[in-house]
Symmetry: C2
Subunit: 227 residues, 2 copies
């Protein structure tokens, strides 16, 4: 039985706004009109403003005092920095996971791995990505470090708007699958050092296939919406 969820308005609103940002309905740098969103959600300004504060703490929006909220703009550097961070966190998750993961959990990941290979061989990119992500999530969960999971989650939200080129080069794909082959090996041997190293390096590739559409190049321009 699941817990009764007392949901506060501000949480609901924060989730909805987060979704709007992730789905590109609110574009980076765009000014967020309080009045407009209040009407859209049918709530007063109080819970909306609380939600915006939470989203600002999460790095999803930017709050300019007396000048309202803006969707956080991603620069190439920020995306790169975020991937570096996520790599480090994944590395740690691998190390920790190896210390305590159960045989059953490893078997589950092995299953996903085989599925992923199948999708790779059949060139099903979208399916491949989906299963791929599941593997990383399983390892993360197996780390047992909830704060790590929370932080990783936050970072992945920030860069969720980044889309990948749907035509990944064969070389990169080949390399990514190789990495995964090594990963599953290290995991089954419970070699935390090696798994950590692989995971830390693995994410670097991802950036190279990120199509930075809509991601502005590094500038100091703080007010692009004023056009």
């Amino acid at each position: 039985m699941s817990k009764i969820q007392h949901r506060n308005l501000y949480r609901e609103v924060a989730d909805r706004v987060r979704d709007l940002i992730e789905h590109g309905e609110l574009i980076p740098g765009e000014r967020i009109s309080e009045r407009e969103l209040c009407e859209k959600f049918g709530v007063s300004r109080t819970p909306l403003r609380e939600a915006l504060k939470v989203l600002a703490a999460e790095g999803m929006v930017e709050l300019l005092p007396n000048r309202g909220a803006r969707v956080m703009k991603l620069t190439v550097k920020m995306v790169k920095d975020t991937y570096d961070l996520m790599g480090a966190l994944e590395g740690l998750s691998g190390e920790l996971a190896c210390r305590q993961i159960s045989d059953a959990e490893i078997a589950g990941i092995r299953d996903l791995h085989e599925q992923m290979l199948k999708h790779y061989r059949q060139g099903e990119l979208a399916e491949y990505f989906r299963v791929n992500q599941q593997i990383h999530e399983k390892i993360l969960a197996a780390s047992g470090n909830e704060i790590l999971i929370e932080m990783y989650d936050n970072l992945s939200h920030r860069v969720k708007r980044v889309r990948y080129s749907n035509q990944m080069s064969d070389d990169f794909w080949r390399k990514a699958v190789d990495d995964h082959e090594n990963m599953i090996g290290a995991l089954e041997q419970r070699d935390g050092q090696r798994l950590g190293q692989i995971l830390r390096d693995h994410l670097g590739n991802k950036l190279e296939v990120a199509s930075l559409t809509g991601i502005v190049d590094d500038t100091d321009d703080r007010d692009p919406a004023a056009r």
Copy 2:
């Protein structure tokens, strides 16, 4: 010339409450009375509640719907998890720093290192810790990854309440200084791999000298203030 700081009330309040928690004036698990804090700060409930939402997003307080706010309770596991994370982040900071740190910056860190050694030889623990922290902050800053810095900052706030035994064993201290000797060496050779490895392992020691006073052992007790 520094930027004009438009400070909002809720930011001010969040900072003040954060301080109260870090200085132990609000104790873990304790219920935070909105009315009381409002009077203390001379503000209305609106900015206080906004501040609490931010602090909750930062993991400093816990918001129980319809039941108010509590100072986040630290369990031994949470502290351990946090140190693991901080270790990974420091490791990354070392790797990144080596890629781009300037000779001048290295020299600055070398200076701090010598200072730290002096304090070590003279048994000045407090001074030692202070300079020690400065070194880590310099490396972090040299990484140039602002999101990394932000995350590390957040984590360190969470565990700032943890105090260290003022009688560190000679062995641990010796080992910590050894680590630092290796760190400065790796940094001067700009050996990111090695520096990263050292930093990732380094923090593990810290936990062992943490005196977990006031840190509750792992329990599911969600309502300790109700006594």
